[in-house]
């Protein structure tokens, strides 16, 4: 009995050997053209970073990927300013902070992302934008590049770009709207906080449109082929295209694995937020309160209050106490197990407290 089992195991191994050898091969960062079959934004961003850091820095590299719906903010942006948190929670569309600079974009399967990596000394934004422009034009769309190096059709943007530069390497990556849900995009990026003033990069809002609006035959696959051709031509690449799967092997690459873990963690997602102040007012039955919250790196530095004249129900002491309790707390994530905070939630200042919480949650 035992022998029969061993024999059949051996047989099935030898039959599967061809497949398993392929699956056991670890992904190499030394190819030139990669297309990701994963639509997991955490995986794709970490894959991009891994290729960026591990490829021979003198050789060009192209990566193309698509993500399931998500909002991607720039490295130094304020998520509360850029993202409509309520819409994000209701729709279940997450937001992610990427590693390159620039503004906020919406990804879904109707949007294709390209990423061109080059040696720093030969990196030129305009040249890389031209590579993509050529691809778009070859699909029959009369596109051009505006003065911010974005690809547009007429007055509408079809693509947004961002860059990252390190010692000896740089990349230009960007979106290409092919058939994105522009309505969903609008809701998620409409955060509407004019009284939130942030240091750091604000997004430059522009009207956008899909390539399919101009040329219905444009597809993700078509765009991928066109960009690869354009890239090959520009940099004289003969390497074959490499598809990347999100599987045991690629997830097993330590750098990628760690990157995927880091992206959603509070330290990166919120803790990288630059300093901002938020001035808000609210009228209660007994009067109007103005609060001014100052935060840096996702932590509340202080919160000062202005109370209506002659207020009786709310004492100055109470408000001072509230300020103190807020200091050092994570903006939007108050530690409700803390005794002082619980007191706030139940005491006479509860109304103010609830209001602040609500504002920080939007």
């Amino acid at each position: 009995m035992l022998r029969a089992c061993v024999f059949s195991t051996w047989r099935s191994h030898s039959r599967k050997r061809g497949l398993s050898t392929a699956a056991n091969n670890t992904l190499s960062p030394h190819h030139s053209i990669y297309v990701s079959n994963s639509s997991n934004p955490y995986f794709n961003l970490s894959l991009e970073d891994w290729l960026f850091r591990h490829k021979n820095h003198k050789e060009p590299l192209l990566l193309i990927y698509r993500d399931v719906p998500c909002v991607v903010i720039g490295r130094n942006q304020n998520p509360w300013k850029e993202v409509n948190m309520v819409a994000s929670r209701t729709t279940g569309v997450p937001w992610i902070r990427r590693r390159s600079g620039g503004g906020t974009v919406y990804h879904d399967l109707g949007n294709t992302n390209f990423s061109i990596h080059l040696p720093r000394s030969s990196f030129d934004r305009h040249a890389t934008a031209q590579v993509v422009l050529r691809a778009v034009r070859s699909l029959g769309v009369d596109a051009n590049i505006n003065d911010r190096n974005d690809i547009c059709v007429g007055k509408d943007k079809v693509s947004g770009s961002a860059y990252k530069i390190v010692n000896n390497r740089a990349y230009h990556h960007g979106t290409m709207l092919i058939s994105t849900r522009l309505d969903v995009l609008g809701d998620l990026l409409r955060s509407n906080k004019p009284t939130m003033e942030t240091r750091g990069v604000a997004s430059v809002r522009s009207p956008v449109c899909n390539l399919q609006q101009y040329e219905p035959s444009v597809s993700h696959e078509g765009f991928v082929e066109a960009v690869i051709d354009s890239f090959r031509q520009e940099y004289n690449i003969e390497d074959s295209t490499h598809t990347v799967e999100e599987n045991v092997n690629t997830l097993g690459i330590d750098y990628i694995h760690k990157g995927m873990e880091e992206l959603p963690r509070w330290d990166w997602a919120f803790g990288q937020t630059p300093e901002f102040t938020y001035n808000i007012s609210r009228t209660f039955d007994w009067g109007t309160v103005t609060a001014r919250i100052r935060s840096k790196h996702g932590i509340i530095l202080n919160c000062s209050f202005e109370l209506p004249d002659g207020h009786q129900s709310i004492s100055d002491d109470l408000v001072q106490d509230q300020s103190r309790q807020l200091e050092g707390q994570r903006y939007g994530f108050l530690d409700e197990t803390k005794e002082g905070i619980q007191r706030m939630m139940e005491g006479p200042g509860a109304e103010i407290w609830q209001w602040l919480k609500m504002e920080m949650d939007t």
């Binding site: 191994h13 030969s122 030129d124 770009s161 961002a162 990252k164 004289n236």
Partner: protein
């Protein structure tokens, strides 16, 4: 430690000039302001997002310094120097203008020496101590830092025109196809130097770039702002400037005068190794062989059938070889001797204060530096933890390092040339000439002993056999060691330990290599 090509110091800003009365150059702590360099693309200011360091952290060249943001670009900036962070000039969240200071770093800098009156005594002293140095014509004017060196990408002190050249902007009068431009950038060649090219209408072709590279980088002289060359009659003496690596060697060897050297030479009997070498060569692991030599089909029966073997390490093609030489075996046996002798795994602990008694830092592993002579100069890359690598692995690393070194410009990176070099250096001069003896020189910071290995040759050894003698393969090894740290008897005993491994490699079987 001889520096890698890109490591640089800012020109100018000398704190004082000393006259050459003593034989030793002096060192001073200099505060260097690191300025925000032009990122290119017309950007005039950047916001500082994050500092990775704070005063008084120490920092090494290429360590992460800070991250800045300019409109859509996020830029990671690394330190151009080794030193200590003294002051951050721009806070997180503040904006820095291009050209303004980002931070101040305190650097140990060798003070330049006036060469005017005292040049003859200087050259005498140098020639006396290091007989291996050919004499060079000294430059007439004082140029402490040769400007032919390619500046660090973030050097803010070069003029905008030079920046433009370095960042490789496309000039209107330089004709070349995009693929040629890319090839030029890959090879670090400035296209505007090759105008007009050999193609149509003065177009620059790939062959122009290749021809230019053949001439060598000594032909480059883009930044001639402060250097001068003699205008003497070319038919008589010519004044030649030091190239970057030769200048580094000059300064390092001048520093080496601090070290009292003593030497010891002997010869090792390689006959037993010679006999086993063919067997070792026929069992080179597959992943070190060039792919063309891999068997064309997988065998019918394989050890991996019941359980996949761990994946073999990824070996770059520059690390493939078909046969071993003696050098990797000598290095491996040397590492064995180093494990027995902690003294030769140690280096003098770098200290900031010269009044403290020095200490030795003993490493658990044997790090050996290799003197590598390349078209761009002399480097000493380091093989780390040689005791943990097999002879095959050492051979592969050597092959890979020489490949990198032979590139123009050099492909060696801080990974191959870590700041903390080996404790023992090996110079394989036998590869170049059939020398009989050598007196290699130690440079401060590179370890406490250096050995020059000669060329193996067959000799008649009358001590062997039953009185009638025997033909034996021997190689001369000449050692120099730092007599402040190593005693004569210790060096001799260490060498005898090494000899025991080399002449009785059978011991490796019992140890399991």
């Amino acid at each position: 430690m001889l520096s890698r090509v890109r490591f640089r110091r800012l020109p100018g800003r000398l704190s004082f000039v000393s006259h050459f009365h003593t034989s030793y150059p002096s060192w001073a702590k200099v505060h260097k302001t690191f300025k925000l360099a032009d990122i290119g693309e017309g950007i005039t200011e950047c916001e500082v997002i994050r500092w990775s360091v704070n005063p008084p952290d120490s920092i090494a060249a290429f360590d992460a310094l800070c991250e800045v943001q300019s409109d859509k670009a996020s830029v990671e900036i690394t330190s151009p120097f080794d030193g200590t962070v003294k002051e951050l000039l721009v806070k997180e969240g503040e904006v820095a203008r291009v050209g303004s200071g980002l931070c101040i770093i305190e650097v140990d800098e060798e003070v330049a020496v006036s060469l005017e009156e005292d040049a003859p005594s200087a050259s005498q002293q140098n020639n006396a101590s290091s007989g291996l140095q050919p004499s060079e014509a000294k430059p007439k004017e004082q140029t402490p830092f040769p400007t032919k060196r390619r500046p660090h990408p973030l050097d803010p002190n070069i003029s905008p025109e030079q920046q433009l050249l370095l960042l490789g902007r496309n000039h209107a009068n330089v004709l070349a196809t995009p693929s040629v431009r890319h090839f030029a950038k890959q090879k670090d060649v400035e296209l505007s130097l090759l105008v007009p090219g050999s193609g149509k209408a003065g177009r620059i072709e790939k062959r122009d770039i290749e021809a230019y590279l053949q001439i060598g980088i000594s032909a480059t002289n883009t930044n001639s702002a402060t250097s001068t060359t003699s205008k003497d009659d070319p038919a008589e003496d010519a004044i030649v400037e030091f190239g970057r690596t030769r200048w580094n060697m000059y300064r390092a060897m001048t520093k080496s005068l601090e070290i009292p050297h003593f030497g010891y030479s002997t010869s090792l009997d390689l006959t037993v190794l010679h006999e086993i070498l063919p067997i070792i060569n026929s069992h080179i692991p597959r992943h070190y062989l060039p792919t063309s030599l891999h068997p064309p089909h997988t065998p019918a029966f394989s050890p991996s059938a019941i359980y996949p073997q761990p994946a073999s390490p990824d070996v770059p093609s520059s690390g493939h070889y078909t046969k071993l030489t003696y050098l990797p075996i000598l290095l491996k046996t040397l590492s064995k001797a180093m494990l027995e002798w902690p003294l030769f795994r140690s280096s003098i602990t770098p200290s900031t204060s010269t009044s403290d008694k020095p200490t030795l830092t003993v490493r658990p592993n044997a790090d050996i530096s290799i003197a590598l002579s390349t078209p761009t100069g002399l480097y000493t890359p380091t093989l780390q933890r040689v005791n943990t690598h097999s002879v095959y692995s050492v051979a592969s690393q050597l092959k890979h390092i020489s490949h990198l070194g032979r590139q123009i410009p050099s492909g060696l990176t801080p990974a191959e040339m870590p700041k903390r070099g080996g404790t023992v250096t090996v110079s394989n001069v036998g590869g170049i000439g059939a020398g009989e003896g050598a007196s290699p020189v130690l440079v401060p910071g590179t370890g406490i002993a250096i050995v020059a290995i000669g060329r193996a040759k067959w000799i008649w050894d009358v001590d062997r056999g039953d009185g009638s003698g025997e033909r034996r393969l021997k190689v001369n090894v000449s050692w120099s060691a730092d007599h402040r740290v190593v005693e004569g008897a210790e060096l001799v005993a260490f060498i005898e330990s090494w000899r025991s491994w080399v002449e009785h490699p059978q011991r490796l079987i019992a140890e399991g290599v």
